[in-house]
Structures are given as C-alpha cells and as structure tokens.
C-alpha cells in the first residue's frame, strides 16, 4: 500500500531530529545558530520569520539549496508554519546528502507563541517583484540583492559615450539613485553613440536628457542631475553621497581628480576609457587594490592622448565598455563575484579580443602608497606637465 501523508511524516521523524523553539532560540538570538531555511510560501514569509533565516519555498528547495549553503555538512534548521512541511523538506535534504539537518518543532507558529524574536522581511512590492523578476531568480542577486540595488546610489561622471549605456542599464537594474555629472549639452554628433539621448533633445543638458530617458524606462529611479564639472571644490561632497562612482570622463584632469578623491572618500571607482576601436576597463578599490595612479602614474602629453572628439571612436564600443562598467558597478554594490580590481581589461574591437593585464598596488604610489601625501591639486596644470616631473621620476 502506498504510504499516506502520516506515514511520510513518521518516516521523516525517524531520521530528522526535531528541535523545540525554546532550545534553539538562545543560539539564534546570539547569532550563533544553524543556517535557518524557511520553506514556507512567499505570502507566509512576508508575515515574518525567524531572525537571519533564508527563504527557499518548498517547491524550489532541491534546486536552490546548494546556492544557499556552504556544503552538505553545514548545520541546517528547516522551518515552516507548523513543523510538518519542514520535516518533509529536511528529509529531502538528508536524502540529498545533507548530514546535519534538523526541523523546527511546531514551526514559526510555536516560535511566535513562545515570544521569540521575529524578523519582518523587507520585501519588494508586487510591481517590483514583477519588474525585477529576472534578477530575483538569480541566486547571487535574489530579493535581498534587488533590495540592496534599490537602496544603492551610483554616481556617473559624464552622461556621454560611457555614461549613456551605463546609466541606462543601472536604471533598468533598479539602482535606486543615479547621479549624473555633466555640464555639456546634447550635440547631434553625440547621437552616434550616446544612446540615452535623442534627436529632439539636442541642445538639452546631458544630465537632464538622460533623466528624461531614465524616467521613461524606470520611473522608480531617483535621478540627481549635477549640471556642472566635477572639480576640487565639489568632488568630495559629491562622492560622499554615493556608494560607487563610474568614471566616464573625457579628460585626464578629471580622471586623476576622481582617482585621488575616491581614495579620500573610500568610494570604489569603476573605470573605463575608449578610443577608436579600443577600450580599457578596471575597478579601483581604495586601499584594497591598486588605484588609477598605480596603473598610470602620469598622463601622456596631449599629442599622445587625443580625445574621441579628435581621434574618433566606434559608437558601439561605448556600449560594450559602458556596460562592462555597469556590470562591475552592480557587482561592487552587491559584493558578488570577482571584479576587475587588480586587472585592466583591454577590449580590441577590430580583433574582437579581450586581453587582461595584471595591475598591482605600487608600493611607491604617490596617491595610495604608504608614504603618499595625498591632497587634491590643480589637475589641469599638473596634467599639462606643470610640477609633475618632480613628483614621479621616470625610473627607466
């Protein structure tokens, strides 16, 4: 005869220890308890759960458990509403090879009756859950990660070639606040690559133009337009308001200014630069990895550093590199994966090759080295060569 529900529960009880809320609560409250997996449905989870619990609805348990746990030996406590679904779920995990699994006796109901602490989940609204569903499905992002993105603030220097795709995708991804620093207006010659702008917005400030595009794409995103150039006087206040800065500047004084200022405010800096068919990208994590000046101690003279306005740039190259920046910014904000910190990615669109160079912290770095005298300077003059050569010797 096929086993009944009661038979299945009885069989599970034979292999799964049941833990009383009062026995495990002290450990949970001290933050030293097992990993708690709550297998209830989303609507139940939204009403509250055990502190620190992770939510994997029963129907997704087998497919998602490995992403939530560190291995089959990790101590797990499975909880549900009354202790029955959790028992069956725990049995399934034991069948999958998990060796240290218990079930919460009486479930969340008994936990709550005994007045143990309850955590109310911060949750996405139904509309957000729908909009960001493809993110929520990714274990590395999930609802938690999406909430983190919604709380995050990204500052984009430049709403041009790199800033256009980066801002567009960061807004689509639900990065809650996006700052756009650009004092320039949209020009017809920008539209070959600066895809956040439109023909009918030629002459409009680029930040304002981008804000309009972002509002149409994702009205939930707060866009701060900063219609000026970043400089020594405003950079620290500006960076201080944001969690990550995306450098899409078009000149060396701004790039070196951002490099130094981001060290001072300890703001991660996502770098990219482009010319013709070639792009560079990296991530500079203040004092944890190399900084921009570890990589490029000095800017080249103007004739070796033409701008895209002088030397040209393949429009679509901006899309690739701006989206590398958006990707890295999201990873920095979520704390996931391996960023380009310590690596320079070089994209050659003509050869369609991606090459990586290793970037190490320079122990003598004049910006982030132990003996650095870091202060904001006159970067315009410095990049023009004034007072530069006494700072960094040509060590050849």
């Amino acid at each position: 005869m096929s086993p009944s529900y009661q038979d299945l529960l009885a069989a599970a009880r034979e292999v799964i220890p049941e833990v009383e809320p009062s026995d495990i609560a002290p450990r949970v409250e001290a933050g030293e308890g097992p990993l708690i997996i709550d297998v209830r449905e989303t609507a139940e989870w939204d009403q509250g759960h055990l502190p620190g619990a992770v939510h994997i609805p029963r129907g997704f348990l087998e497919s998602r458990v490995s992403g939530a746990t560190s291995g089959t030996e990790q101590e797990l406590l499975i909880s549900c509403a009354s202790g029955q679904r959790s028992l069956l779920a725990a049995k399934t995990l034991a069948d999958m090879g998990y060796t240290n699994v218990t079930s919460l006796a009486g479930g969340f109901a008994r936990w709550k009756q005994n007045n143990h602490p309850v955590e109310m989940p911060r949750i996405l609204s139904a509309a957000q859950r729908s909009r960001y569903s493809r993110h929520v499905l990714i274990p590395e992002v999930g609802e938690e990660g999406q909430l983190t993105l919604l709380d995050s603030k990204a500052l984009l220097i430049g709403a041009g070639g790199l800033g256009s795709p980066a801002a567009y995708y960061l807004a689509a991804a639900g990065v809650g606040t996006i700052g756009l620093v650009d004092d320039d207006v949209v020009d017809e010659s920008n539209l070959q690559r600066q895809i956040i702008h439109t023909t009918d917005r030629v002459g409009v400030n680029k930040g304002e133009s981008a804000k309009e595009a972002i509002r149409a794409l994702n009205p939930e995103v707060q866009v701060n337009v900063h219609p000026f150039r970043v400089n020594r006087d405003n950079v620290l206040d500006l960076l201080g308001e944001y969690d990550v800065v995306v450098d899409g500047a078009d000149n060396f004084p701004t790039r070196y200014l951002l490099a130094d200022a981001s060290l001072m405010t300890r703001t991660p800096l996502v770098h990219a630069s482009i010319l013709r068919f070639e792009g560079h990208a990296s991530v500079f994590t203040p004092y944890d990895g190399p900084c921009y000046r570890c990589l490029f101690p000095e800017p080249p003279p103007p004739d070796l550093a033409p701008s895209c306005g002088e030397a040209g740039v393949l429009g679509v190259l901006c899309g690739v590199m701006g989206n590398v920046q958006a990707t890295e910014a999201i990873k920095v904000l979520l704390g996931i994966g391996d960023t380009l910190a310590g690596r320079l990615l070089i994209y050659d669109a003509l050869g369609m090759t991606f090459t990586e160079l290793t970037v190490r912290r320079d122990p003598d770095c004049p910006s982030c080295g132990p003996n650095a005298d870091l202060q904001l300077r006159d970067y315009e003059a410095w990049c023009a060569g004034v007072g530069r050569h006494d700072q960094v010797g040509a060590t050849a």
Partner: protein, 92 residues
C-alpha cells in the same frame, strides 16, 4: 621574435599595424629595435636621453615590467609586450 602590441595612438607610427614582431632579449632591446625600425615611435615614447617616458607602461606577458626588472626584464621568443599609455576618452 616577440610580439609587441601597439596602442591606437602609436599605430600610425608603425604603418597602421596593431602588433609588430620585434627581436631583442630584454625590454630595453625590444624597444630599441622597435624605435630603430619605426623612429616615429621613439619620438613619442622616449625622452631626449633615450629612457622611457614615465607615462608609458610596458607589460610583458600581462605583467607590469616596472614590477619585474623594468627595462632589464628578459623577453623570450614567444613573449608578448604591450605598450600602454593611458587613454582619456569617455564622454565627448
């Protein structure tokens, strides 16, 4: 011969090539031979006394030559050198 990857700003100086094969057993020899064959490159990356400008990075097989033995870094037949000045472009 080692392969030297030429950055966009120097390509005109080597006849438009993205990479050129150059002989030499050290970074210094490779760069000297490159600049002999393409004097316009030398005019841009070398100082008046023949040393490398500080804004020029050289990578040997993906590693910063400054952190190896700089211009004395040995270069093998199948090695790849990258000459890398910073690029500024982004917005305009």
């Amino acid at each position: 011969m080692s392969t030297v990857k030429i950055p966009p700003v120097l390509r005109q100086s080597v006849g438009g090539e993205r990479e050129v094969d150059v002989s030499g057993a050290t970074v210094e020899e490779v760069l000297a031979n490159l600049c002999d064959a393409h004097p316009a490159v030398g005019a841009q990356i070398l100082t008046a006394d023949g040393s490398l400008h500080a804004f020029v990075n050289v990578y040997v097989n993906g590693e910063d030559a400054r952190l190896l033995q700089w211009t004395d870094t040995p270069v093998g037949e199948t090695d790849t050198l990258v000459i890398l000045p910073a690029m500024a472009g982004g917005a305009q």
